[in-house]
Symmetry: C2
Subunit: 201 residues, 2 copies
DNA sequence: CACAAGTTAGTTAATAATCATTAACTATTT
DNA sequence: AAATAGTTAATGATTATTAACTAACTTGTG
């Protein structure tokens, strides 16, 4: 009945992918090994060949997510700019389109940070903090050049990133509300300029 | 051994209170009937006299929360104002201090909307939507008076409320980050003016 | 006022389902 | 033949829920 076999690395990645999908839509405890196994077309004990526990699978999922956050390119691009609106635009676009284009990710991260207290910090650090730190630097830089007002860079950065992440989550979660459904582009186009204008001197 | 007995209404409220606390700090599946029972100093089957299932307890918790959102007073206050900054300030303050002063609540609501798909809409409607609708009206009003720019009121309102709710959640969740811990007042004082300035003509 | 009869609030003990994990074994690949 | 990828079947823990019973209140009637 069994037939073909998969290679170890393939299978491992398949498990992570399937688990990512599941954890993004259900809480940690609601995802069962049976669900993961079924999604991979194997039996539950097969999973234990690759991960010693459910917790380890979860950790692998988080790790694979944080690896995807690479801000090198974005940072380089941004540091050449002197316009806060352009900078915010780029950051928002990067969050919404590049890294969190699978919007499951933003859900997963929020969800995990809400329920797994110990992992929350690590998740936050891996995904949210890099953006915040980048923006803090930019705010300081522009402030020194007197291009923006004297705001608290830490609070402001946290707030802006939070706003964008909330958009990412809300969009798919609450979808059509008040009779209207919006595209990410519309949301950025409307909100980023508001924030940018408020920062300008 | 048994001794005193509690009245039905007292006990029911006690169960809801205890469950609110538990659901706010653990996900739905992580909260067990045993935990709820212990918190109420009764045995598990006793809970079934008041609620026919765990799900029903959860629903009762959500219901009791949504009942607490009363915007009458806030709405009256706000409609007298012609200053967008003042309006945003009041709304933010109301969210952060009045309704979500037990920050567990905001966690619980976010968490539940993230994992219980069916209840998500109902939770959203109960807690988030009233604020959004109120702000939409105000934005339209001020726009007609040419006091703010021509922005999409729905997107803008959603975004602002999302930003504030994210602050409420983030504050307690991630607490001290980047070496600094902020008070809600500081956060409002920094962010609301940015948003308000960006909206002004 | 008394007090039996019924109702309500609670208990202990059992049930059935689900879940993560392990043991022991088999088939496939190298 | 050695190593790897997978299986079936069992285990033990936890869980929500129910059954069967008991103690404490309430009420209607003499």
């Amino acid at each position: 009945m069994a037939g073909k076999r998969n290679t170890s690395t393939n299978r491992k990645q398949q498990i992570i992918d399937a688990a990512t999908d599941l954890f993004a839509n259900n809480s940690y405890e609601r995802v069962t090994m049976s669900m993961v196994a079924k999604a991979c077309n194997v039996t539950e004990p097969a999973l234990y060949r690759y991960f010693s526990s459910k917790e380890k699978i979860y950790e692998a999922v988080l790790l694979s997510l944080s690896l995807k956050v690479d801000l090198e390119e974005l940072a380089a691009w941004i540091k050449a700019s002197r316009d806060i609106e352009e900078i915010l635009q780029e950051i928002a676009g990067h969050i919404l389109n590049n890294n969190l284009k699978h919007t499951e990710l933003s859900r997963l991260l929020l969800l995990s940070s809400l329920e797994h207290r110990t992992l929350a910090r690590q998740v936050f650090t891996a995904v949210r903090l890099p953006y915040i730190d980048l923006l803090i630097d930019e705010l300081k830089r522009l402030r020194e050049m007197k291009l923006i007002r004297d705001v608290n860079p830490v609070i402001t950065a946290r707030c802006f990133i939070g706003m964008i992440m909330d958009c990412a989550v809300s969009k798919n979660l609450w979808g059509k509300m008040q009779g209207e459904r919006f595209q990410i582009e519309e949301v950025i186009e409307n909100n980023v300029p508001i924030f940018a204008r408020g920062l300008k001197e």
